[in-house]
């Protein structure tokens, strides 16, 4: 099981996938707002979305997982 983690602390602005979606490596899956910047969050491996751990508006710490891939 792979996890897609945020590289920096910030607020989840948008989640672009839903449970069951297949994602490819490098696909933009979410946008995190940090330091007033929209920071794209990309999948570093391909997989199927099995769990979304946060909602838009939630705080996400550096290294914290947002999405789990099966």
């Amino acid at each position: 099981m792979a996890k897609i983690k945020s590289e920096m602390a910030g607020t989840v602005l948008e989640i672009k996938v839903k449970v069951g979606d297949t994602v490819t490596k490098g696909q933009e899956v979410a946008v995190v707002e940090s330091m007033k910047m929209e920071v794209p969050l990309q999948a570093d491996v391909a997989g199927k979305v099995s769990k979304i751990l946060k909602n838009a508006g939630d705080f996400l710490n550096e290294g914290e997982a947002l999405i789990e891939l099966a």
């Binding site: 007033k36 910047m37 920071v39």
Partner: protein
């Protein structure tokens, strides 16, 4: 009488055939083959071939040292021979490396360290480890030679324990994926001493060092690629710090800078790929990137603008919003020092929201790392140009060679914004108490009104009107402007001042 030719041939063959075979299986070339690929044919002059020759099984004492020409330029080379006791160091191995460094210093020529070594020969430790001309002297010499003559390390195999410091002191470290490794204690030692179970690749593999620790500069897939990269680097740097870096004939960029107008978003929070700006600014195909996989929010490349070498630091809004972190600050500081040592002018492409904030990064020493970057910048001895591509907020303005940092010029594009911080945090800071008492809709309207006022305040034309930037230019003018200015600012490096006390 000894048949010297026959003996030379025997010694040049290195260790036992089975070790040659083993190297071949893992994609490793013989030390002498590596040198052959690096230098101009027939140019090698070797010293110390007969080191330890009275002892069987230790040809050249496990290291090849000598002088040769790379693309017509004199260089000094050492290459560990991993077919001889796994390239480990005995007393004569160390002595040969020391003498090579001394020769390079005498001749003021670059040194190539072709490293593939298991480290100290423990059986010889008293002779090779602790004394005045023991292994420690190699690192002492490297540190003293740093920034005086180029030192380039190609890591083909292990570089263990103390040996790991040879690569660490070089200006450039190229690592072969899968074979190169650096570690102070092996996985076996880590398990016995601290109880950690870890693979060699995780502990000290080339990819790890080029991505996570940042010790490695360039990750390559095989040995010929490593040698090619080393030659490319040499084309950017002079023989020593007294000379100017080589220039070549200029060529046009791969893309037109006018097209950047549609690629750099006006809105300051949108991501885009700064590499597109690089492609439109530098001579096509001239980019030589350092630490591409490490701290990717800041891009550091050597490149050419109209044939002249230039070091570029560029914020990358695609990664971590282009914010400066501890690692990116370290990366920037080191790159600035490298350019400064070799007389390479520096171009800063600025689109930076500032240094990262929050409790985590403060504990990591963000202030210390940021100070290191600004210290390196302030002490750089070469021309500096800041091009504000979009944002230059907070201390980010300073870190990217802002107006107060001795820049030869500060240029701004129409998308540029200069401020202590962006509109929203600024308004929050000033009107926090007032806004806390407002109803949500009232607050939204207030924020909108104040944002408009703030944007007017930090409008780039106002900034230009105050002479904070030296010139406003359009996207289509970037390349020509840089060509002309770099040509004009071209000059010998400022003399080296006392090293001071660098924050780190």
């Amino acid at each position: 009488m000894e048949d010297i030719s026959r003996l030379q041939e025997k010694l040049r063959a290195g260790g036992d055939a089975k070790y040659h075979e083993k190297n071949k299986e893992s994609g490793k070339l013989f030390a002498r083959k590596r040198i052959e690929l690096l230098i101009d044919a027939g140019s090698f002059i070797e010293d110390g071939l007969f080191a330890n020759c009275m002892n069987e099984g230790l040809p050249a004492d496990g290291v090849v040292t000598g002088l040769g020409m790379v693309e017509g330029r004199k260089v000094a080379i050492m290459a560990n021979d991993s077919t001889v006791k796994a390239g480990s160091w005995g007393a004569r191995t160390v002595e040969k490396i020391l003498r090579l460094q001394e020769t390079a210093q005498q001749l003021q020529i670059p040194v190539f360290y072709l490293v593939d070594s298991a480290g100290a020969r423990i059986t010889d430790q008293i002779e090779m480890f602790p004394g005045r001309r023991g292994a420690g002297r190699i690192f002492y010499n490297e540190a003293r030679l740093s920034g005086k003559i180029p030192q380039i390390c190609l890591l083909f195999g292990p570089s263990a324990a103390g040996g790991a410091y040879i690569p660490a002191f070089c200006d450039l470290l190229i690592m072969v994926d899968g074979n190169a490794s650096m570690y102070l204690g092996s996985p076996r030692m880590a398990e016995s001493v601290i109880g950690e179970k870890v693979t060699l690749e995780e502990m000290g593999g080339a990819r790890m060092h080029c991505t996570d620790s940042g010790v490695g500069d360039i990750l390559v897939s095989d040995e010929p690629a490593a040698i090619e990269q080393a030659k490319k680097y040499l084309r950017f740097v002079p023989q020593n710090e007294k000379e100017a870096p080589p220039k070549v004939k200029g060529i046009a960029p791969a893309t037109a800078c006018a097209a950047l107008k549609d690629k750099v978003p006006q809105q300051d929070n949108k991501a885009y790929n700064m590499r597109e700006v690089l492609d439109a600014v530098v001579d096509a195909g001239s980019i030589f990137e350092l630490k591409e996989l490490y701290a990717k929010e800041l891009i550091t490349v050597l490149a050419r603008i109209d044939g002249a070498p230039v070091g570029i630091l560029a914020n990358q809004p695609m990664v971590k919003g282009g914010v400066l972190f501890v690692n990116s600050s370290d990366k920037a500081a080191r790159f600035i020092q490298l350019c400064s040592a070799w007389g390479i002018p520096i171009l800063f492409l600025s689109d930076v929201p500032g240094f990262m904030i929050g409790s985590k990064i403060e504990k990591e020493g963000m202030i210390r790392a940021g100070a290191k970057l600004i210290y390196a910048l302030s002490n750089a001895r070469v021309p500096k140009i800041q091009l504000i591509v979009r944002k230059a907020f907070g201390a980010g303005l300073y870190a990217m060679s802002g107006p107060a940092f001795g820049s030869d010029c500060v240029l701004a594009l129409p998308t540029a914004q200069v401020a202590v911080m962006g509109p929203e945090p600024a308004i929050n800071a000033v009107y926090f108490n007032k806004m806390a008492e407002m109803k949500p809709e009232e607050k939204a309207a207030f924020l909108k009104e104040k944002t408009a006022e703030y944007q007017k305040e930090i409008n780039i034309l106002r900034i230009a009107g105050e002479l904070i930037v030296d010139a406003m230019i359009d996207f289509s003018q970037i390349r020509d402007e840089l060509v002309k200015r770099l040509r004009f600012y071209d000059r010998p490096k400022e003399p080296m001042s006392a090293p001071g006390i660098m924050p780190m």
